[in-house]
């Protein structure tokens, strides 16, 4: 009897011990009790920023290391920052002016790796990389190839039509489609809470994801949205959000996942007064051989630094410049321009 109890407790104890030696990356060592709203929900309100230079997938040059030593981390951060920054002097005067112009509206926070010194935002699978693709049916391969060809025309400075450009370039959606991934600027998210709702307003593009946390059912499957349809629930002090009903347009979902089988679960946990762990798991058995999970730290922005409207479509001069430029290049018989966009995204 006594022995049986021990066998039961055994694996549990091992799990607890493991959790103690290796706390999930990004988590505060001591359990933090977040403040509560007057109606009793954990309080996640504030303006948060998710910028980091830590790449989504582990780069090949760091081997299998998931977490770096202080010294390695310094080198890793330096080398990433060198590639990302425009505040460097190795390109001559013209490059210097171009870079300076671009630098001022970029987020300086994007030059630092995560405080826990990870080599990838992906924490599962353990190799820090997006799992292998499954074999796609010919129709999806065809759509992917056509999207890739359009992207190549755009990158060569020869878009044939506005449809050759991505949804972000067309100002339809940007970093507001979950999962939220860091980019070069406007990495701010403001969280609002009211009884029965958690609302996340990503700075780019001025949308609000108003998430019911009152147990109501999802929208009918036929009603699909660019940002999907989100439902939240509290698990302890973690907000768990499941999102479905994404629109089927190619390129809306990350890496061309299949909206019919794709699910995303996001977990928001306030781990300190000034930090949220944002963790998401995507599952799509008709696209990836297994689910994958990433963890991105969100840092609270100084209250003096406010979100500001990011209008996009209203002054999207770029789209006309790209197209008229391409028409001129065609007239001149050019086959490819300098890459129009060489910024990492």
């Amino acid at each position: 009897m006594r022995v049986r109890v021990l066998t039961f407790v055994g694996p549990f104890a091992v799990a607890v011990a493991l959790a103690l030696v290796a706390p999930a990356a990004g988590q505060a060592p001591k359990k933090y009790n977040p403040p509560k709203t007057p109606w009793g929900d954990p309080d996640l309100q504030g303006v948060w920023n998710d910028a980091t230079s830590t790449p989504l997938q582990r780069p090949t040059n760091v081997g299998e290391k998931g977490v770096l030593s202080d010294e390695e981390a310094e080198d890793f951060q330096k080398s990433l920052a060198h590639d990302l920054t425009r505040d460097r002097r190795d390109g001559g005067n013209a490059a210097d002016v171009n870079r300076a112009y671009n630098e001022h509206w970029m987020d300086a926070r994007r030059l630092k790796i995560t405080a826990d010194k990870r080599t990838s935002l992906i924490v599962e699978p353990a190799d820090g990389r997006i799992p292998a693709l499954v074999t796609l049916p010919p129709e999806r391969e065809r759509v992917r190839a056509s999207r890739a060809a359009a992207a190549a025309r755009f990158a060569a400075g020869l878009p044939e039509n506005y449809t050759d450009m991505s949804w972000p370039v067309r100002c339809v959606v940007r970093t507001d489609v979950p999962p939220y991934l860091p980019t070069i600027y406007n990495n701010n998210f403001q969280i609002f809470q009211s009884p029965g709702y958690v609302t996340i307003a990503p700075e780019m593009i001025h949308s609000a994801r108003i998430i019911p946390v009152d147990g109501r059912p999802h929208l009918n499957k036929r009603l699909r949205q660019w940002l999907g349809d989100s439902r939240g629930r509290w698990e302890g002090s973690t907000l768990v959000v499941e999102t479905t009903n994404f629109k089927p347009e190619e390129g809306v979902l990350f890496l061309g996942a299949n909206p019919a089988t794709y699910t995303i679960t996001e977990r928001f946990t306030r781990v300190a007064a000034d930090a949220i762990n944002y963790e998401f798991t995507v599952t799509d058995p008709t696209t990836w051989s297994k689910p994958w999970t990433a963890l991105i730290p969100w840092n609270k922005v100084d209250p003096g630094e406010q979100m500001f409207e990011y209008a996009c479509h209203e002054d999207n001069f770029d789209i006309v410049h790209f197209l008229t430029g391409a028409r001129v290049r065609e007239k001149n018989g050019e086959t490819a321009a300098q890459p129009a966009r060489n910024e990492p995204r």
Partner: protein, 295 residues
Amino acid sequence: MQLRRSIAFLGVAGTVAFIWLAVPSLVGQQRPAAGPQFPAGYRSARAADGHPDLNGIWQAMVTANWDLEDHEAQPGPHPELNGAYGAGPAGQSIVEGGEIPYKPEALARRKANFENRLKVDVSEDKTWHALGDPELKCYLPGVPRATYMPFPFQIVQGTNPYILMAYEFTSATRIIRMDWKQNAPTDSWMGWSRGRWEGDTLVVDVTGQREETWFDRAGNYHSDALHVVERYTPASPYHMMYEATIEDPNVFTRPWKISFPLYRRMEKNLQLLEFKCVPFTEELLFGKFRKPGAR
């Protein structure tokens, strides 16, 4: 002389006004007040912060998005193709006194706006915004237009110094910063909104709006000197009165007011959906720059 004539005139006018006022007051004793009334002395439910709870999905029922002033029903842009689809409903003015007090020299621009409301030309950056109703192009609508477009909006009111207003039209949002000192850092499409409570009324002061937004499809417009003060006052569990005072000395002779009720949307499990209209405008705006023969 001049003065005496004015006094004499006032005397006559005063007498006429007295008689005219006297007539309805005599008749009025037999007739109830015109139209439905909100419950007198309504006290709103309270939010956690002790102020009126404005949380919910709201919508205006007026047709001011077609024209703030009185307007008859009108056919859509291409009735030969679309029949009654896209036609505009008739509506009564929401402007106090009926008409917007334009400066005489500002009226030509309204007329031109209306005539050019369906045209666009984005081939030059400098004249990008010269033609067309911003709504036609799916631009952020600005304030107060966002409030009376024929789409719902949601108020998210928590306990921090922010109230979020999220509009279904083009997923527009604006943050109302309560008791906030800082001025607009620069102009924006939805403006810089600072709020305060005056009793049970949420008063929102909106500055820093881009000059390119319009008030309606009739071409009513403003300059970058636009200053809007909105008042949201709960009037029943299902209604708020909305009032906006609009001031712009470049275009109008004096501040003027609009007002109408907002209705709480009561459908079960209702949620704000997406009206992301950018893809609906791309062919109109950018189609002409396509490679000949390309799809």
